[in-house]
């Protein structure tokens, strides 16, 4: 008995000590920021993933961008009609075919008081290129040779070849980091920038003050932010909180735990939340599209008539009405989407859903239907199971193709497998989404040139290639639009890409906050720096 008593006491003591020892420790009041300025309110925002990297030139995670965008500026922003607009850069363009430039504002300072100059811009570009920092930014620098600060406010970029898109693309996708902080750290690709060495130095409406991985990321207001009306951001603090998925975020918004959901709402939730007391739903145009791509490396799909048959075997309107709940717009089966207003071509119209026409095209391609009306071919369509919208419409694509006697086998997999299959060309039909297609020439080069990173149809059409290459070196905007429209007609006629729709995006927030400025895409939405700096509590 004595032994068991001691054992029980020992076990209890060990557990107590264990619990006390492993318990996380409470923060000290000084560790987080206080609230000063026009509003003492904290705005809490839900996200579904942690920050992967605090270094804004690395990676491409959405949460990383939402948070680092509040601390590190982009040269350009984007308007609702898809045109690039001034942000840190006030003017931009080309000196000649292989030299581009940015003129930047002269009234910006980093949070440690150092001025933000053209030298910071040039150094960032050269360092990302030199150190091959993996991420979307580096991907834009293919034709950059070197960047030079020719004055405090002017940067000139020498290009390895003429490229009429690179200045706007770098301006939109790239960020500027403080040279005096990043340079001493060595390779920009290996700098964690996690605040462990004296905190963060940035230029934005907010600056990181405290974080707990997996729990919250807290940014405090920067009192001097010239890019917002009045020069002082509205909320005293921005806190990003991490939730497992958008459904839990909705619960948290309804319970008052957060004020904004950063992620776009699933289509099925939009109407319900629009009618919920205490909430507001804000719309932003989409900059991307959902599409089906037919792999031309497969002999059946190399036949134009088969791709056309498949294009006419999809009920696009039903997909937009049923799955997208009417929240998507037709692009006219065109890669030049309506949101890119200058480029949009109304003469290109959507493929008509017509199973009989599909049958005729299949017969024209040399196939004969059996007694049951089915053609002796079958196509494997891949999609990501994590993409709930595509998962739903993939089934509709299969069903409507069956009406035309064409068999489609669905293969939904987890995202990493799907990406792997995509990069290996292991599919007949690819179903997926691109979030942001902001520049037509860049999009066409990536999608339809041989070796293009997202040339999932594996097309190599000499006429199309020539037009895209001409577009890349045409600096006159009207000429460029005309060339890209010609290229788009070829893509449409040959069904090198089947663009299904552009999805409008909806974001939910508490109606206790106002002043949000929505921008196109989920990446910018209502959590872009200007929007959060302009947000203020409703009186």
């Amino acid at each position: 008995m004595k032994h068991s008593k001691f054992l029980a006491l020992g076990a209890a003591a060990a557990l107590a000590v264990g619990l006390a020892g492993c318990a996380p420790s409470a923060p000290e009041p000084g560790e987080s920021s206080g609230s000063t300025g026009p509003s003492d309110e904290t705005i809490s925002i839900g996200t579904t993933t942690d920050v992967v990297n605090f270094n804004p030139v690395l990676g491409n995670s959405r949460t990383d961008s939402w948070i680092t965008n509040l601390m590190y500026p982009h040269l350009l922003s984007i308007s609702d009609d898809g045109t690039k607009e001034a942000h840190v850069a006030t003017d931009w363009g080309y000196v000649d075919d292989t030299t581009g430039f940015y003129e930047i504002r002269d009234d910006l300072t980093w949070s440690d008081g150092e001025p933000l100059t053209a030298e910071d811009v040039a150094w960032t570009l050269n360092a990302v290129k030199r150190d091959q920092a993996p991420g979307t930014f580096y991907g834009q620098l293919g034709n950059l040779d070197t960047a030079t600060a020719v004055s405090d406010t002017r940067v000139e970029l020498t290009l390895t070849q003429p490229d009429s898109s690179i200045i706007e693309e770098i301006g939109f996708w790239g960020v500027v980091v403080p040279k005096h902080v990043f340079d001493p750290q060595g390779s920009i690709a290996e700098f964690a920038n996690d605040g462990s060495d004296g905190g963060w130095v940035g230029m934005g409406p907010f600056i990181m003050s405290d974080f707990q991985v997996g729990q919250h990321y807290t940014l405090e207001r920067v009192e001097d932010y010239p890019l917002v009306d009045g020069g002082v951001p509205g909320p005293a603090e921005v806190v990003y909180r991490v939730y497992p998925d958008v459904n839990t975020e909705i619960l948290a918004l309804q319970s008052g735990e957060i004020d904004v959901i950063a992620n776009a709402l699933p289509p099925a939730q939009v109407e319900q939340l629009s009618n919920t007391d205490g909430l507001q739903v804000i719309e932003a145009p989409g900059l991307g599209y959902a599409h089906l791509v037919y792999n031309m490396d497969k002999p059946d799909l190399a036949k134009t008539e088969v791709r056309q048959a498949l294009a006419h075997a999809v009920d696009y309107e039903a997909i937009r009405t049923v799955v997208l709940q009417g929240q998507a717009v037709s692009t006219g089966s065109s890669a030049l989407m309506p949101v890119l207003a200058k480029y949009y071509d109304e003469s290109v119209t959507e493929y008509e859903f017509d199973p009989e026409k599909s049958r005729e095209l299949m017969e024209k391609a040399g196939y004969t239907a059996d007694a049951g009306g089915n053609f002796p071919v079958s196509f494997r369509l891949i999609y990501s199971l994590q993409d709930s919208v595509t998962s739903q419409w993939a089934q509709m694509v299969k069903d409507s193709a069956a009406e035309a006697g064409i068999t489609i086998e669905l293969q939904g997999t987890e995202r990493n497998t799907y990406l792997s299959q995509t990069s290996e060309g292991d599919y007949d039909i690819y179903a997926g989404n691109f979030a942001i297609m902001d520049d037509p020439v860049t999009n066409f080069a990536l999608s339809y040139l041989p070796g293009g990173a997202i040339n999932y149809t594996h097309v190599d059409d000499s006429d199309l290639n020539a037009l895209i290459e001409e577009g890349m070196v045409t600096f006159d905007e009207d000429d460029k639009i005309s060339i890209m429209r010609e290229a788009n007609k070829i893509v449409h006629e040959q069904v090198y890409d089947n663009i299904m729709y552009t999805q409008n995006l909806f974001f939910a927030a508490s109606d206790e906050w106002a002043g949000f400025i929505s921008k196109p895409s989920e990446l910018l939405s209502i959590v872009n720096p200007l929007s959060l700096a302009s947000a203020h509590p409703v009186e």
């Binding site: 091959q132 993996p134 964690a192 909180r241 497992p244 619960l251």
Partner: protein
Amino acid sequence: MSRASFILRRAGRGLLTIWFAVTVTFLLLRLLPGDPALALASPNMTDAIRATILEQYGLDQPLIVQYGLYMWQLLQGNLGISFTQSIPVLDVLLQRLPWTLLLTMTALVLTIIIGIPLGVAAASHKGRFIDRAVQIVGVTGQSLFVPSVAILLLFVFGLNLGWFPIGGAYTNNTYGLEWYLSVAQHLVLPAVSLMLIQVGSYVLTMRSTLIETLGEDYILLAKANGLRGRRILWKHALRNALLPTTTLIGLQLGFLVGGAVLTETVFAYPGIGRGIYEAVTQLDFPVLQGAFLMLAATVVVANTLTDIVYGYLDPRVKTS
């Protein structure tokens, strides 16, 4: 066998198990479909960028070379650098470990203090209403699925009643006592979820072993000697009946950790489980290897300690 050699043998077996777990984890991760380079950069990167990334992280090396380098680094106590976060894996894990320990240990304590008395109550009222009710609770508990329980609790107690927060581990801008209260409030739903799926095993194990023990000759002898039922139950029967439950604590630790991955994910609890979930989506091999090594070591150490405690409780084990 002396106590020292018994402990040494158990420790040696534990190290072998950890090496095996590390090797299997290393190989399994590389068999996963997907390309870590795709998680590091945009899917629309060029082949040249992809090759650069693979080279930077040593993923272009043959598998055996990667394994050799990994084991060499491991022997020096280096778990590597996270692919995605560019910081040491040990730092990544240490940021999250306290929360996982707090959650799992709280759930374990709750499970023990609820499960064992329930099992005792059922065994001592064998065949009666309490016994049947406890058995139903036990069997139901064993068949529960963590995410289902968690989401139900979240919906009822988080959203509808508003008693507990929807996610996270504490409320921002709270300090001192207020912070500890906030941590406790955030801990309730995840810990209860984890407890609910564990407690059934404890209840049923305790009940069956205690019933068996109560039928032993020495218990009958004690009864014949006129000892009171309560004294027989708590003084004579319980100690022996606790032996299988002690083993269960060690064995269940693995399930507890597995359950924590799901629980932390549903409740956005910032522990290692949630970290594993994110590392899987990003194919962050070093973080996954480090996390699984840590979990394997935890389970092995717990089992070894269980063996040792068991050997102490029942000396026959050391000679077997």
